[in-house]
Symmetry: C2
Amino acid sequence: MSPPRGPLSQLRRGHEELVLGLLRKHGPLSRGELGKLCRLSRTTLYDILAELVATGAVVPAGQQDDGPRGRGRPAETLALNPGAGQAIGIDFARRALHVAAVNLAHEIVGAASEPHDADLPWERRVDLAERLVGRLGGGDLRLGALSAIGAGVVGPVSDLDSSTGEAGDPLPHRAQVLLRERFGVPVLLDNNTRLAALGEAIWGAATGARDVLYLRLSHSVNGGLVIDGSLHRGAYGLSGEFGHIVVDPGGRPCSCGGAGCLETVASVRAVLDAYRERGGHADDVRGLAEAAGKSEPAALALLAEVGADIGAVLAALCNAVGPGVIVIGGELAETGAALLEPIRRTLDARIMPISRRRVSLRAATLGEAAGALGGIALVLHESPLLSRYPAGPDLAAGVPPLVAGPPRRHDDFVKENS
Amino acid sequence: MSPPRGPLSQLRRGHEELVLGLLRKHGPLSRGELGKLCRLSRTTLYDILAELVATGAVVPAGQQDDGPRGRGRPAETLALNPGAGQAIGIDFARRALHVAAVNLAHEIVGAASEPHDADLPWERRVDLAERLVGRLGGGDLRLGALSAIGAGVVGPVSDLDSSTGEAGDPLPHRAQVLLRERFGVPVLLDNNTRLAALGEAIWGAATGARDVLYLRLSHSVNGGLVIDGSLHRGAYGLSGEFGHIVVDPGGRPCSCGGAGCLETVASVRAVLDAYRERGGHADDVRGLAEAAGKSEPAALALLAEVGADIGAVLAALCNAVGPGVIVIGGELAETGAALLEPIRRTLDARIMPISRRRVSLRAATLGEAAGALGGIALVLHESPLLSRYPAGPDLAAGVPPLVAGPPRRHDDFVKENS
């Protein structure tokens, strides 16, 4: 949590945003021109400009040469620093919103989450995103210097910047348009679980691994693959749909239109429903985790069954794809060893014996921020994992290149999420 | 088939090999030095050198400058063309050997196959490879200009040039050592089915596709993946083991040490055994294919069941990896639509509905030569599919770079295999 900020500090921040907005709109301006446009006092303006130059948000941009001028040197202009830029990552999960941001130095300045109803309209989700972003960073975050937003959405995203929505699934595009209107910057869109996989592979449980399988067990069940050191999208942006691998052909109908998919047995809702059917009492995953922690037989038996289904799917995928690291994330992973150990047992039993000791099964470490952090990574586009990944057309056209290294984590952020 | 070759032609070829061998051993030599070393008549030597220069196997390599010389210009030297090189691909399948070769222009000069017992010792397999290679190319092939061999072997290959064999699986290394001794060139080793996938993705059913899943249904069941325009190896060279994905946890023991793997129901032996158990009569896949062609009920029912198992595995992999093209190869694919249609039905039923029309299911087109052709591609290392694939240490150190484009297919080769 950042300390409460007084009205003077807020006023100053408003002035900074004003100046940055003018530079974004008009391009390089002299101090005199900025003064006329922003109507701030000379002292206030020069003070703010000094601070913006000191933090690297604004840089000298040469001398003015348009038209005849009076005596003396031509005025020096200032411009937004093309080599710096802030980035925001947003994960529009099914029932919660997660945001994270990096400052001009590409340090992660904070992450925030808030649950919401599954049917919350996109306008309200974007409102919520704006509110959460506003709370981040304790003053480090200047939205005027924002370069782009990386947003993750549920479901397949065929193109990073699709100009039309998928038939029957126009929502991701809607989010993109709304965010662009609200923040005035390009918005890169991708599948939110793929972004979480990216986050875990860059900064989380699989840092440094070249072949990673990430499985997120949440309200939906999905995943992402890092293959040979690159985040994988699949031929039509359709990959990592591990939740829709059939584990029981005669099983329940699935949201995807199929039946008996892994998601029908391993999503948060499916597991909690099954627990209640067996006489257990848990309002949420935390309750189930507590029951399992007390060795409550129904909870342990259920998680063992679910873990076996998950392990079978993972074994098949390991034989096919050969990851070195498997990361299990999502809310359900909070049940800990009661779920991870059954997964491990079935994985070991079903994987090719020669591969058994070659794959490392790990719990995710970035928590619910993983997807938003992956969105930032998508915008920065500096990780080797993205060297072959397409950059969105918007981004290629309109965003200044980011020159700094990958985000460094603030210590408090690490503590929060470890 | 190449025309029979008379003794004079064979003699000439022997002389060429002799000259090429001397240039390989000594590096650049003048015509005079070559004459002393090879002991051929001046006329014969000059005739052979003219032919070798004309075909590009040998190139002028500057003037001699070592030590004082008599009057006149220093003698011009000749050397092996570092920009050209022949390559041989060998597929050591379980019960057959397949070879293919490209000439100096990187045209495929031919392919040949011969079945053998599964327990044929490696020495005899390498003998057989040498014999088959000797028959290729109708004179285009000069082993003296051979740059390297790409060899495919059954089972996982962890490193392209492992200096020690895997525990319990030293055979691939044995093949590598024997081939190197016999042909005197570096030998790149890889999984033979992965090489077949590479062949089909470069020159076969999936030419131009960036995401390809190749499944080979033969005496073993395996496959290979082209992911995002790159041939995929997996974290330990272990990938594409589709045959060891479990389709029936209570099923028969598998060669991998597991049970109920796809290979236990979809290998050639498994299918023929099952057909006989149901009262069918077929000595081989051809017999089964004929029965299916005559709509023999037991044959159709069996292939429908096998196809359903295959389709279920493919659907799971499609959801996870998102290929644009699936290629079905191997002997069992010769049963045609009787197998492919049930595969397609289950694939369509089990794949995520949104992906259904986005994946193209195709029969392989390169026939049994696919693996050997993939071996050649591995040596040439020029396909974009291999741009991120490791080159073996031997190859990097000892083999001149190959500058020509990918092999062009001779028309007769295309006819033979289409």
